[in-house]
């Protein structure tokens, strides 16, 4: 996953091109062919297989899997924590991006680089860091291991950069003159934020939030050490899938996977709709 994918302007461009009538000449057709084949091998076929595997068991497996209160609890915990973390990231990420773009301070360059560490760090290393800091042997005296807070904390750690990196380039292109224009027309700082800055940032914030949520519901490595995976308390969906596989129940594992897939899709669509509505309100 690269930062380029976060650029909402690029998304808009692609969307426009998609609407236009086909302009494929031979080299473009070959390019498209290679692209689609590549995408199919890596993404579409495995996804289809999962759906097929889950469906192969019929609705019975779904009902049974979801009926298991332990699995339902794990899925609910995952979605709830991912939502909470994403909401917090929207606020904090925008704030950090603002500070990084608009303010000059010593150590800014260093912070620019450090921001990406949670993203670049192998997740199990992140888990180890969190365990040593917030585990039973915490030097701070804060022990959140074996609680749902540990899941929250781990997700917060790994998803920090998403909103920051999505908002930053858009903020850089926002001219300070636009805010000055709003001020000279009588708008308070708050009104300028609400009516001028926020609508310009919303697509970027939504893109960052989508990635943050998607990462949140799929996270495994960073939380598995700290959370202790206690059923009904700190066990997340991905751990549940792993357990099902270990117990040789691939159909149930696939069922959970399909539910996560559906949740991720729903999140992408919802955030996309929200960002369009907000951006067009005025």
């Amino acid at each position: 996953m690269t930062i380029e994918q976060l650029d909402p302007a690029a998304t808009v461009r692609t969307r426009r091109r998609g609407r236009a009538r086909s302009t494929l000449d031979r080299p473009a057709a070959i390019g498209l062919g290679i692209g689609v084949t590549w995408f199919s091998i890596l993404v579409l076929i495995p996804l289809a297989l999962i759906v097929f595997q889950a469906a192969g068991g019929g609705w019975g497996v779904f009902a049974e899997t979801l009926g298991s209160s332990q699995t339902a609890a794990a899925i609910w915990l995952t979605v709830r924590q991912a939502l909470l973390v994403t909401a917090l990231n929207v606020v904090m990420g925008t704030l950090i991006a603002w500070v990084l773009v608009r303010d000059e301070f010593p150590g800014k360059r260093a912070l620019e680089i450090i921001i990406d560490i949670p993203f670049a760090l192998p997740t199990i290393v992140a888990g180890l860091v969190l365990l040593s800091l917030y585990g039973p042997a915490s030097p701070l005296g804060i022990d959140v291991s074996n609680t749902s807070h540990s899941v929250f904390l781990a997700l917060l750690f790994v998803t920090l950069p998403f909103v920051v990196r999505a908002v930053q380039p858009v903020l850089m292109e926002l001219e300070p003159e636009v805010e000055e224009a709003a001020a000279s027309l009588g708008a308070s700082t708050f009104t300028t934020w609400r009516r001028v800055i926020l609508p310009s940032l919303t697509p970027a914030i939504a893109a960052g939030a989508t990635l943050s949520f998607a990462r949140g519901i799929s996270e495994y490595g960073s939380l598995v050490l700290l959370s202790g995976n206690l059923p009904f308390e700190s066990e997340v969906a991905s751990v549940r899938i792993f357990t099902y596989i270990e117990n040789d129940n691939p159909a149930a594992a696939s069922a959970v996977a399909v539910i996560l897939l559906a949740v991720a899709l729903a999140a992408i669509i919802t955030l996309n709709l929200i960002s369009r509505r907000v951006a067009r309100r005025d």
């Binding site: 001219e175 003159e177 000055e180 224009a181 009588g186």
Partner: protein, 323 residues
């Protein structure tokens, strides 16, 4: 009344942007702040608008001390060089912004926006986004937006600087006519002397953080107070030990009482105008003299490159001694 500026100083770190500016801008006039880039004219405009604060001194707008009043409550219309459009709002919404902030009734806002869009000839573009307009149209939209709040003064910072030459000229004429219609006290910043001479009622020449001269376009052109003003308002050349405009030199092929004589060493024709360079025979004057004549004058005098000519200031020409 109008705008009263007294004792304004502004530094950016070590850089002195403005020093001790005292200036009265009359009510209802169209005033140009003219000067080279980095001379402090934009800073002065931004201080009037409240977008920048002065280190010392006071600003009064229409008799009211606004030195400590924030930009939001100065009721000043500001137009930026790069439009500063609200990109996600339609043209009509951009223009309505200031009125919506003031919580005017919907019907009144709509009526006022329609009026303004008509004034700037953008009626049919009301529902477009700024990105779908040309540069000139965008700047007219920005102007309508600034006028919507019925500002006590209208400030324009290099308003035509980002536009190409033709559109620039059109907008210049249009601003002049608009001002004759609207009569709001208007100040615009420019580094283009032609723009200032053509549009403004009065010009304030600012250089190096100081006011060089204040006057009508004619005053400034005919009676420049300093070498800087003379050279900034148009081309200038050295004739003997005087600075003079190249078109204020009388040229003759016949020997006559002259300041300088010598051969025509360069000949450049630009449309109706011919620019000559005469290299003086007198070794005291090393610089060639620039002379501008019209094509018909050149034909009448039968001038050609290489001809020996005699030069003197024409009657009534303004000149300054060389420094």
């Amino acid at each position: 009344m109008g705008i009263e500026i007294s004792g304004v100083n502004k530094n950016f770190g070590d850089f002195v942007a403005l020093r001790d500016i005292d200036l009265t801008i009359p009510s209802g006039g169209l005033t140009a702040l003219l000067g080279p880039s980095g001379g402090g004219k934009s800073t002065l405009l931004r201080i009037i608008a409240g977008l920048e604060t002065s280190d010392s001194g006071t600003i009064e707008i229409e008799g009211q001390d606004t030195t400590r009043v924030p930009a939001q409550r100065r009721n000043v219309g500001f137009v930026f060089q790069h439009y500063a459009a609200f990109k996600h709002m339609s043209v009509a919404k951009n223009v309505a912004f200031g009125l919506e902030i003031r919580k005017r009734p919907k019907a009144e806002i709509k009526r006022r926006v329609d009026e303004l869009l008509e004034l700037v000839h953008l009626e049919q573009f009301a529902h477009r986004l700024p990105a779908q307009l040309s540069g000139g149209q965008r700047q007219r939209m920005a102007l309508a937006r600034a006028l919507a709040i019925e500002p006590s003064v209208l400030l324009l910072d290099e308003p035509f600087g980002a536009l190409d030459a033709k559109v620039r000229k059109e907008l210049r004429d249009w601003l002049r006519r608009l001002h004759d219609e609207v009569h709001v006290t208007t100040v615009f910043v420019t580094h283009d002397q032609e723009e200032a001479l053509e549009v403004a009622d009065s010009i304030v020449v600012i250089n190096d953080g100081r006011i060089e001269q204040i006057g009508t376009p004619d005053d400034l052109y005919d009676k420049p107070a300093s070498e800087f003003v003379l050279s900034f308002l148009g081309p200038v050349t050295t004739l003997g030990d005087k600075l003079i405009r190249p078109h204020d030199i009388e040229i003759s092929r016949l020997e006559q009482a002259a300041v300088v004589d010598g051969p025509i060493t360069r000949w450049t024709r630009i449309g109706f105008e011919i620019r000559l360079e005469v290299t003086p025979t007198d070794p005291r004057y090393t610089e060639p003299v620039q002379v501008t004549v019209t094509r018909s004058e050149a034909t009448a005098l039968d001038l050609h490159q290489g001809d020996h000519v005699w030069l003197r200031p024409s009657v009534g020409a303004q000149s300054l001694p060389t420094p």
